[in-house]
Amino acid sequence: MNHKRFLYLDVIGIAASIVLAVVVGFIIIMMVSDEPLQAISSFLLGPFSTPFNLSTVFNKAVPLIFTGLALAVVFQSNVFSMGAEGQLYVGGFTGALAAAYIPGLPVWIHLPVILLCALAGGAMFGAIPGFLKSKWNANEIVTTLMLNYVGIISTSYLVNNWFKDPGSGGFARMQYFEKNLLLRKISDSFPVHYGFFIALLSVVVISVMLYKTRLGYELRLVGKNEAFARYGGIKTKRLIIYSVMISGALAGLGGIVEILGVHGTYKDNFSANLGFDGIIIALLARNNPVAVVIAALFYAYLQVGGQIMQAESDVSRELAVIIQVLLVLFVSAQAVFNYFKQRAVLKHSQSHATKGGKKDHVA
């Protein structure tokens, strides 16, 4: 039975889930708000109402694409890393150091150097749990969760004590980078920064890596069946480290792109859960790099919708968070999809049975 034939059912399932979540969300909004219609329309339509709002969706999606991609890669190699948050901070920090403290380079050299430093920082920090796992089989869920805090707190220490811009007061940050280092916007009316294209490029690179190269074949094989990969002569322990490092590099890249595209300098606690949101995005996208883009845009859309709702009505952003949670839950509800699929498959086979099962180009 060819499953591609039933792809449209996934689409129907997603649509049904969204409708369901939105209905539940509306009921909640009706209960707490005095102007529910305003709130609902702000939430749903707000992100599309102006080019500026739409561009915010894209900008918000950029770091999520990176972290979602980072986790899709490790998950495909069956390493359950939750470490993108910490890696994003460390990578962002090393990249920011290169941006703030390497003087006198032309931009076209400086920018790649910054990105490389971020990649390296994230990869190095990612290598720690990878090494611990491949050497001693230390549970990566625990090590990555804990190392997140280590990464966040130590970068916070460094930026508060050693690299703090004296002018930044209570809210620590580095000195602002030179303007020409920052990622430019597409246009003033549609201010999506060029980080979006770096993100898309990363998606292409990772897709090619996973599905068209030796490394990708080996990574996926290790993820699917480690014993088989080892038997086939693949150095599985080394690959686990590679995969966590690639993941860390992507998260680090996400960090520096966020800094160069949005913040203009390294700010303490700049991420706010981008790494954790990445986990949800990777899982929603079923670890498929291309689907990561869609999931990230969807997720960003919900966040922006919530903000607009907060600004334009009496419903606060936190309520949007709740709707967001419901949406994520419903969209990832396998049962809904299986229900549609089973019904279709059943019908399909029944129609075959009556026709004597001759040809199968019906559905």
Binding site: V32, L132, W136, N137, A138, N139, I141, V142, T143, L145, M146, L147, Y149, V150, I153, S154, S156, Y157, N160, N161, F276, I279, I280, L283, L284, S316, E318, L319, V321, I322, Q324, V325, V328, L329, F330, S332, A333, Q334, A335, V336, N338
Partner: protein, 318 residues
């Protein structure tokens, strides 16, 4: 400053701090353990604790009775856990998504309700709070040193220890507990013997809610007497680490909680010392670094034991 630290160790203040610090970790870890053992890893501990912390302090302040507060915190937590179980078991949502959704929800919902109900943004600080009582044991409270060990601790500290015992008896001495352990490992086998796997997972999640709920209410009404947004700050994740580190066993979980409690204790002690030369971030990092180190030591030991053949002697051929 080292003198200062030493003084607190010597006069056993450290014990009181330790008990206070380990209680939420221990309770949450017991909650995590019971669901984990049935094959449902509850990553939503963090969010559940927040919900309970907020509910119990709000209800306690409104009703003037700590017990009503704690019970409602626990009930809400059980309800939320049940909802998680519904999404995971019935709707087949990935358990990690369910857990993170719970965390996001817990954080968002408490902040939303705090502003809606109390017009507070960062923290909620009720003036007339009936806290979880402190147990002073007559006679013992007057004996120096011994009193610090046994007297003057919050009731929840004792409940936490009882929870370990309860969990142990339930898992190993009742048929129900054996079923819980069986379904996590061999769900098909359990199913074929007529054990209702789904229903047991629901009940395990409910137990999880009970203990996590207790942990949450202790955070807002025992450890402190206020609710601060995102006040759990990783305690739930630490508890999750303790579950895995403690080898999914109540005694292991107790030992693990003591280790992390100690790390937290030093964090607390250092933070109270004025002009400490150790940067606060280093102290803050301690529990997490300790977890990673403990995990590595644990993993190395396991590996060595396997190499030396001390594990599984029964499998040896004569």
């Amino acid at each position: 400053m080292w003198l200062n630290v030493w003084a607190q160790i010597a006069d056993l203040t450290i014990i009181a701090v330790l008990l206070r610090c380990m209680t939420p970790i221990l309770l949450a870890a017991i909650g995590g353990l019971i669901s984990d053992i049935t094959g449902v890893t509850n990553i939503g501990l963090e969010g559940l604790m927040l919900v309970s912390a907020f509910t119990s302090i709000a209800v306690s302040a409104a009703s003037g009775n700590w017990m009503v507060g704690v019970v409602s915190g626990v009930l809400i937590c059980v309800g939320m856990s049940y909802a998680m179980a519904f999404f995971h078991i019935k709707l087949k949502v990935d358990i990690v998504i369910t857990g993170f959704a719970m965390n996001i929800f817990g954080s968002g919902a408490t902040i939303f309700l705090m502003s809606k109900l109390f017009q507070a943004t960062g923290s909620y600080n009720p003036s007339n709070l009936d806290k979880i009582p402190v147990v002073n044991i007559p006679f013992i409270e007057n004996i120096p040193y011994v009193n610090k060990l046994f007297s003057g601790h919050s009731l929840m500290v004792w409940i936490a220890f009882l929870a370990v015992l309860f969990c142990f008896i339930m898992l190993y001495r009742t048929p129900y507990g054996v079923h819980l352990r069986a379904i996590g490992e061999a769900p098909d086998s359990a199913k074929s013997l007529g054990i209702p796997v789904g229903r047991l997972q629901y009940s395990a999640m409910a137990w999880s809610g009970v203990f996590v709920g207790l942990a949450g209410s202790f955070m807002s009404m025992g450890m402190t007497s206020m609710f601060v947004k995102d006040m759990t700050a990783g305690t739930g994740f630490l508890a999750l680490a303790v579950v895995l580190l403690g080898n999914r066993n109540p005694i292991g979980v107790l030992i693990g909680s003591i280790i992390f409690g100690l790390a937290k204790t030093f964090e607390t002690i250092f933070q109270t010392i004025p002009n400490s030369p150790v940067p606060s971030q280093f102290v803050q990092m301690m529990p997490y670094v300790v977890t990673v180190l403990a995990l590595v030591v644990f993993a190395i030991r396991k590996q060595n034991r396997q190499k030396k053949g001390l594990v599984a002697p029964a499998a040896a051929k004569s």
